[in-house]
Point group: C2
Chain length 667, copies 2
């Protein structure tokens, strides 16, 4: 049962516990399967990606300064603690990474997002509070404002001399923010903008920093001048005075207790015809002259709005990263517990079995760990893309759209994975996992909202799917030609499956031409299988929508009837992106032992992903029933093989020791 | 596309929005699909099952007295509130249902479990606290003690003059309670039992009522007399004195904050050679004479232990019910929100779309609602079985085992469903669902532990699977004969698929002989499909274990390698039990409109359950790929058909108005 494989240049046998041979035919000795510090370091190097020094700095900070909240902290005390930690962060200069050098920043976008995400090891409330202050509030001023705003506000925002809010969501409009109803009407008589909340549904809701600390808000509102509307724009509105009392005309409510993130002061803002000077408009994408004349570099209201939103993609990328960070912490806790906890004696023995030696327990935790590796590596690639796109002095529309699509898809995948995995970790630790002192309750509660804020996951996947359909239409025009196109599958794949970058390893794998009987662990087969599924789902979706449109029915009903298909198209697209990232990372890893281990982790990720969608693969003739059963067996085999390496894989995640406070891991 | 069906005596067309015809061939008019108060009442009658008067009484009590906790209540204040509510309950006499009439009870076991479960509409902490006091503490004294214990303790326990604990779980042993290490050693010199905690792993952990209120504990310990061990027994040990201070030799710790259920005071108990009189032993299943002679009606230590555990099955059944209650409340909230919340305008219209009109939103909530109906009805049947078995003056071992198996399986299914569905409800309400004021955070956090307490779900399913295997072996003896047995499938089905009761409707459906091309909504086909799957999974499991055993390998490894198969066998068994219950309930419903609607709900439950396991059905030749796709389409169709009836189905759940406090449902 030794199978050769073409992926990379490694061979290995497929069976046997913890088998991990590389390039040689020698027998694996006991010592070969022992984790070495070198393997951990090599894996960590891969996981640390492009910003290892930033990661090291945040880890150091967490070890020394930023401690998680204790149990039974009241919301008020928790808010106080988080604000204190925010000041510590500000003193460290971490926030400067995200700002331009001319305003005192260090202009390292990727480093900035990486460091924000890693705050999830400390307290997710701190991550969110920092994200609100510097990412959303400061970020909006930088991205949507012009020099006068930058000059006046960026330094105090960075230094926390000015705390602010990002007031976009309203009670009545969260996903559909283009339809918000707050108004900003220019009064030509006084040269002021009048910011107003017409009714309860239009109040700003869930706004971080609003209930307690914020002084100035970036308020998104429908701009009108001379009786004419210009769509959504952002206006700076003071919400509190020097004493912290609400500014005149501003009503502030506290959202009160939430499931988690109670260290963040979310609130509601209502504006009763609040007047601000014309200069308060963040006017990079639209400005109002003194006489009320409106001008913008982007003609179309809707296009302008989405351009404005597009500049704010960093927040979404940071949340994806924060979700992954929290998942890594949860898995570190659950796997370490699973390695020390014993229950039920072996038959005929007094020795009790370690939890992680049970297949069912491996099944719960190891595929989740493998997919966490995959998402971590995909996230790293996304952060790189964000950095490159936003650092580019020449904006590139196509790459910006690609970035937004990847960010939407990965945010959805990573945060749903976080929710599911942290839940599994809690359950895998039994009653002990329910105690606050063992950290999992806070991780679960804090990350729960990640799936629905910074873009609701379901809505994000639909946006992504629509982008994919648009790209598809751009390539193929009239979808009637699909019947023909199917026969030139290679061309379709190349056109539809746009890659982040043309990477040699993926090109080689994609062109290796695997048949349906390929080795189950053949990476070329995996890559082709995922591409093939993506293409098929998208093609059939396009055809279906085309057919529905041809029937002259209600376009909403036609789209709605295909909504599950639409979401599926986005999901399988993300699966393929994530696999691409994992394959590339394995290829980059130079330490042979670490690379071989990573390769097995990738196998487990791929095969357990296939297993979750087996009915599609068998139903569409991609896997025979016998081969489908073999997939399940292979996942079991991989769990057994990786079991001895679980602690190596956990150590490589490099969660700071100070972040792992769980009482049940103490001796 | 009109399909006749044999299930029940109803016919209906299969397509069209909200189509719901009964027995007549007349066209469905608009008014036919409008919910009527009569339909709601008829559905409610089915759901209220055997104890409608108990349900009505608890609803009334919740409307008038038992209010859920407010936000930001400290753990201490929450504990105080729940204790107060416990006293209100005691005054109402609800707890008397669970006790024998001779001690002041009213001896209505099913009514008792039903009423406990419904406390989930109020505050799940109250449900758990009541369950600890009366179900576990009082219940153990009643079930494991003898007359002297009943006489002395049951009235004060009922009246809350004596608050108590059920101290079984230890830090080191939760699932494997037979291996607990607390000792109870008889000292013949003084006639006392010495209760002792040998080390930290042996301390009693997560014990409800221990941290604050309990005075007396039922302590499970390894009993030894004259140097000989007799296995686990229960001993009454005072843990606090009259002033509430820890009793001499008893150390009490507080488990502190938990993810939820913070109105319950869980604690840890350590005993330092605490002496109690010999009479403190709950001696129904084992007694110690003054000279230290041990005697028991059950010879075997292990058998005795499991008999003792078996008497305590009520707690497990109550938790399954509590999970369902919480799920019903969560779905009521999420579905009512989905009917009033709008987001995104229809293309070419200013009208915004109601969330529940989106297929994706229907997909998230309606199959979950259908399965909640299914579990509710299965739970009702389980409660009936519990009542009948425990009310029977002649104990029947086979029925007791059946009861324990059903309780284990349904507890796992219902609590996992609760966790997943409440999570979905939270996400379906977006950021609003994350606010405490909208109830979902507390429901989520409180029910989270249900999957791992009163028996860890994974462990329970394994126990159930082992019971099924034992029953299988009892029928077929040598498993080598399986090759032959497969050709007499009917006999196998009859023997393996033991029914709770021989119900005419199921017998008729099971014998109706449906082919692979049956109408997708043919109930006879559903019943046969689920039975066939159960039989196949169990047969192949038995064969696999037999083969592994034949290889003379390590029995633990053989069993462990099949662990996923084992869990699956239990799951598909539970699926079949749940379907049986649903089918019977539809058959009982006499109102034709309600019956037709319930029938559609059953279709959605069945087809979405099949959809979740499509790879099995296609992989094992039970569904062709084309038919598998038709299943997905049928689920979509059913979502659309049931959409107009969502509020009827929610109203029929009859959640008390006072229990629905969510701020976003207020006008």
């Amino acid at each position: 049962m030794i199978g050769a494989r073409a992926a990379g240049n490694r061979r290995r046998s497929q069976h046997g516990e913890g088998d991990e041979q590389q390039m040689t035919a020698t027998t694996t000795s006991e010592s070969d399967v022992q984790p070495t510090a070198g393997t951990v370091a090599a894996l960590r190097e891969v996981l640390d990606g492009r910003w290892p020094q930033v990661r090291a700095a945040v880890r150091e900070r967490i070890e020394t300064a930023l401690h998680p909240p204790t149990a039974d902290l009241s919301s008020e005390a928790h808010r106080e603690q988080v604000l204190g930690q925010l000041h510590e962060l500000a003193a460290s200069g971490m926030q400067r990474l995200g700002f331009e050098t001319r305003w005192g920043g260090t202009d390292d976008i990727g480093g900035s997002v990486t460091s924000f995400s890693m705050l999830g090891f400390s307290d997710l409330s701190l991550l969110v509070k920092a994200g609100v202050q510097w990412g959303l509030f400061g970020g909006a001023i930088q991205a949507l404002g012009t020099e006068q705003h930058h000059e006046r506000y960026l330094r105090p925002a960075m230094d926390l001399d000015l705390l602010g809010c990002f007031a976009m969501t309203e009670t009545g409009h969260g996903s559909d923010v283009q339809s918000i109803r707050t108004t900003a009407t220019y009064d030509v008589g006084t040269g002021e903008l009048v910011v107003h909340t017409p009714d309860r549904e239009a109040r700003k809701d869930y706004i971080g920093n609003a209930a307690r600390d914020g002084r100035l808000a970036v308020v998104f509102a429908q701009l009108a001048t001379g009786g004419e509307g210009h769509g959504v724009h952002a206006v700076l509105v003071p919400i509190r005075d020097e004493n912290g009392d609400p500014a005149p005309g501003v009503t502030i409510e506290d959202c009160g207790r939430k499931a988690g993130l109670n260290g963040v002061d979310n609130g509601r803002l209502t504006f009763d015809s609040v007047r601000v000077p014309r200069e308060a408009l963040l006017d990079r994408y639209g400005s109002v002259a003194e006489d009320g004349t409106y001008s913008s570099p982007i003609e179309n209201d809707s296009r302008r709005f989405f351009t404005m939103l597009g500049t704010l993609v960093r927040g979404r990328v940071s949340i994806a990263g924060g979700g992954i960070t929290a998942t890594e912490l949860a898995l570190t806790i659950a796997l370490r517990y699973a390695e020390r906890r014993r229950q039920f004696a072996r038959p005929g023995s007094d020795e009790e079995v370690v939890l992680l030696d049970y297949l069912a327990h491996q099944r719960r935790l190891l595929p989740a760990l493998a997919t966490t590796y995959a998402l971590h590596l995909a996230q790293d690639e996304l952060v790189g893309l964000l950095h490159d796109v936003q650092s580019d002095p020449e904006p590139d529309d196509a790459r910006q759209r690609e970035l937004e699509g990847h960010a939407a898809g990965l945010k959805a995948a990573a945060t749903w994975h976080a929710t599911a995995t942290i839940q599994t970790c809690r359950e895998a630790c039994g009653g002990a996992g329910y105690l606050w002192e063992n950290q999992l309750p806070a991780l679960k509660a804090d990350t729960d909202v990640f799936t629905t804020f910074e873009g609701d996951n379901t809505v994000l996947l639909q946006l992504l799917a629509k982008t994919l359909l648009t790209r598809y239409r751009d390539h193929f025009g009239d979808l009637d030609t699909l019947g023909t196109v199917r026969f030139v599958a290679d061309q379709v794949v190349e056109a539809v499956i746009e890659r982040t970058s043309a990477r040699a390893v993926l090109q080689r794998l994609a062109s290796a031409r695997r048949g349906p009987d390929s080795d189950l662990r053949d990476r070329a087969w995996h890559v082709q299988l995922f591409e093939d599924r993506e293409r098929h789902v998208l093609e059939t979706l396009a055809r279906r929508l085309r057919a529905a449109a041809g029937e002259d029915g209600d376009p909403f009903e036609a789209f709605n009837a295909a909504q599950d298909h639409l979401l599926r198209a986005a999901r399988v697209h993300v699966d393929r992106l994530v696999l691409d990232a994992f394959v590339s990372a394995v290829d980059r890893c130079e330490d042979p032992r670490a690379a071989a281990l990573l390769d097995q982790v990738c196998d487990l990720h791929v095969l357990s992903t296939i297993e979750q969608d087996l009915d599609w693969f068998t139903g569409h003739g991609r896997l025979t029933p016998a081969r489908a059963k073999a997939v399940t067996r292979a996942v079991n085999d991989l769990c057994r093989e990786l079991r001895p390496h679980a602690s190596t894989l956990v150590d490589a995640l490099a969660v700071p020791d100070a972040a792992v406070t769980a009482a049940f891991l103490r001796d």
